[in-house]
Symmetry: C2
Subunit: 146 residues, 2 copies
Amino acid sequence: MSESREKLLIDPLAPFLGYQLRRVSAEAMAQLASDLSMEGLSPALATVLLMIEANPGETQASIGRSLGIKRANIAPMIAKLEDDDLIYREFADGRSFRLYCSDRTRTVTPRLMRIMKRHEDKIFGALGEGEKTQLMRMLAALRHTE
Amino acid sequence: MSESREKLLIDPLAPFLGYQLRRVSAEAMAQLASDLSMEGLSPALATVLLMIEANPGETQASIGRSLGIKRANIAPMIAKLEDDDLIYREFADGRSFRLYCSDRTRTVTPRLMRIMKRHEDKIFGALGEGEKTQLMRMLAALRHTE
DNA sequence: TATTGTTATACTCTATAACTATA
DNA sequence: TATAGTTATAGAGTATAACAATA
């Protein structure tokens, strides 16, 4: 406990909501990555996996679009999830596959959801229920205008 | 105008504030990176530069700590800013330098601040003034509990 | 011993471009 | 023509580990 008490600098970005949002998001993401590491999945991979489980039969292009991940970037993710026997593919037509999660996945996703819930409580526990509702509403409004 | 109307998938992460925060933050960051590209600076570099301008004489370790950037990662950033004649160094003691921004920087930072202000208005214009105040308060609360 | 700056290295996520095959 | 999947490649940004020099 050296209690270093770092000198506080002037922060010219402090008044910017975008800056504060980025700092909170970055910290939360690092925390979540650490919480998920025991499952061998990054936040992005876990998100893709949960999305496939919730939408069986969708193509990777469709999953990617709804997550904001480009086709070129989701291809290796899908390949990794398939290598790890977390998902499998079925032919949809000659150029696309339907994605489904495997039996093994159904033993994994409940743990993922539990980890995310605990993570959520840890990060946003500082807010009251009303505040959380307001925050969710504001974030939804921001997402729909971008 | 093909008005593709992409099929909406079920999003099991939708109820998570952390997920919504990450989506909004990622979109805002991509937008800011694009807005700043004409100045030849990334959001991170612009932030470091503004921080040095606001806190003349601080060391890079100090700047890095207050921005959450590790020493190993801020070193090449400082080197780049110095190469571009945006900052210069003075010996503080045998192992550290004091950082100062150059005259050229003072012609750049007002533009950076203007770009960021416009960006902020673009992203958060969907919120009313009261909402913005609330959001700022909540983000501050979240940052202090991490 | 702790701190500063630095280099090397690896990982995650993202971006563009180009290609094949199919609709 | 547009879309799906893939590969190659590059660029941010971050992480750890190690090192020399200094406090």
